[in-house]
């Protein structure tokens, strides 16, 4: 294969990757894929790939002396291990198919695999405990806003990890709180049919390593009709009963309303 054609094929593969990264960043969809720290890196990567691909595409037909003495032999600064057409196909087809298939979220089955219905954490999660707010009621009240009807606004993550922190349980137990997340059917210990489950996804780097952060919603009667997997704001009284041998974070719901999708998946709100 002529070197010029090989350069063009390689440039096209690189430009497609660049376009994919830049499109997801520019459209804002990147927030569904990468944690905040990694998003600027993805942007820089997309720009860098675009520069490299376009540079090589525009100079594909130029003669370039690498400056080495190769003694007239053909050298391999550009010789690859693989047929360039195969390389182009392997680099672009999975990306193109994934772009076509993705819905920016996991299916219900994979959410279940990523901890949606797992037991709440035991009291041995010191890393997460260390990032929670200080443990006095005054400081909790001063670091959380109060709604107009008197509920303290909490992130779902704080409520979830409180099951692993007895001191925080003591403060939050019986407290009237409001939080938000996505609502789904409750499949565990819900014989009476009065429960739903509220969750958000927590990612450390990318969504592939994300875990579901769920709590139980107890309505006391038949739950209201809310869109499955839709975003809701719920308010009620927080409890931490022992069920099935482990502590559960259960919110006894006073009100639940459909909510706008948050612009960012921010899990540590404060």
């Amino acid at each position: 294969m002529k070197p010029e054609l090989r350069r063009i094929l390689f440039s096209l593969a690189v430009i497609l990757w660049a376009a994919c990264l830049l499109y997801f960043y520019g459209s804002g969809r990147i927030v569904k894929y990468l944690a905040p720290d990694f998003r600027p890196i993805a942007l820089a990567g997309g720009l860098g790939l675009a520069v490299m691909g376009l540079f090589n595409l525009l100079t594909a037909f130029r003669q370039a002396d690498c400056g080495h003495d190769h003694g007239g032999e053909e050298h391999d600064h550009e010789g690859g291990d693989m047929n360039p057409w195969s390389a182009l196909a392997l680099m672009t087809l999975p990306v193109a198919l994934s772009m076509a298939w993705t819905k920016d979220g996991f299916s219900a089955a994979t959410l279940a695999r990523k901890g949606l219905y797992d037991e709440a954490p035991s009291a041995s999660a010191p890393f997460f405990a260390s990032v929670l707010p200080p443990l006095t009621m005054e400081e909790i009240e001063s670091s959380h806003r109060r709604t107009t009807d008197g509920y303290l606004e909490f992130s779902l993550m704080e409520l979830f990890f409180a099951t692993g922190d007895r001191e925080l349980q003591g403060l939050l137990g019986g407290l009237e709180v409001e939080t938000e997340g996505r609502i789904v059917e409750e499949k565990v210990r819900n014989e009476s049919g009065t429960r739903m489950r509220l969750y958000r996804m927590f990612m450390t780097c990318c969504v592939a390593d994300s875990r579901a952060i769920p709590i139980v919603l107890e309505f006391g009667s038949e739950p209201p009709m809310l869109p499955e997997n839709g975003w809701v704001k719920v308010a009620g009284t927080m409890t931490f009963p022992e069920e099935g041998g482990t502590l559960q974070a259960v919110l006894n719901v006073d009100r639940a309303t459909a909510a706008e999708v948050p612009p960012e998946e921010k899990f540590l709100l404060r």
Binding site: G45, H77, T110, A112
Partner: protein, 332 residues
Amino acid sequence: MNGDAQQDFALAFLSILFEGAPFILLGTLISGFIDIYLPKGAMDRFLPKNNTLAVMTAGLLGAIFPVCECAVVPVIRRLVGKGLPMSCALTYMLAAPIVNPITALSTWKAFQGQAPWMMTGGRMLLGYLVAVGVGLVVARISLRKVLKQSLLEKIESAADKENEECGGCCGHDHSHDHDHGHSHEHHDHGKNDDDGRLIAAMRSAQKDFVDVGVYFTIGVAITALFNTGIAPGAMWLDGLAGNPVAAPAALMALAFILSLCSTSDAFIAATLAKFTWGAKLAFLVFGPMLDVKLIFLYQTVLKRKFIVALGVSLFVVIWLASMAAQAWLIEM
């Protein structure tokens, strides 16, 4: 695949690709510019002449040139082509993703409240010792058993040419003293030459990016398939958490499948609350040295048989070392 499986695969695939692609680009840009601008043998000047000391020094180079495991493969591929001894290159490749300040910081941060200094120090130390051990062993093995044929031919061809050019000129070894006919320092590269070299460097970087990108894509696709179907594995893992012998092996298997970046894997390890300190140490040392995507990336440099032997050796050594570390910790 049904619709749900396609959706899950696509999400996991793209997210890992987005996370890793910038780091591969960084590595291949460095490798491309090394290819064109770095005089052959230049790396040797940074390393002691003594083989053992050179390997030990190579294990610390990650502190100066911090790269993750994705970025390090194209870099060492070029460095080997430039004459860096394979034992040093392999030591750098295995150690750099662990023995570097970014990984140290992320490990320390992730393990707050769980003896962060001990985990960070233990990870750096074990990673360094294992990498140096591999380097010292490889120093005694023929390159033919280690290097991929195409890379080996390139090195041998360069060596033959070097011998022809240097042979008989003065009868002693110039390998550390001059640049074997490249003459970068002795003639004037005008602006056109500079442009030409920039273009050549960018082409070389792009070629490396595509070479690595192909294998990375395959590795990420396999990782995404495992990642989205991990539930049975998770239940199996939980059952092994209390077993002091099986737990480190199980977490090493998990690290192999998940193929996490060394700069971020500590955040996953820190959440594995049921597992012992030693098992987490095994996860954090083995993962950056061998995982699904690295199997594919290593094939751009190493022979398949050698990769298998390396993988088995790493698994056994890190497994035993992590159990010994755990036993020592209990005794304390």
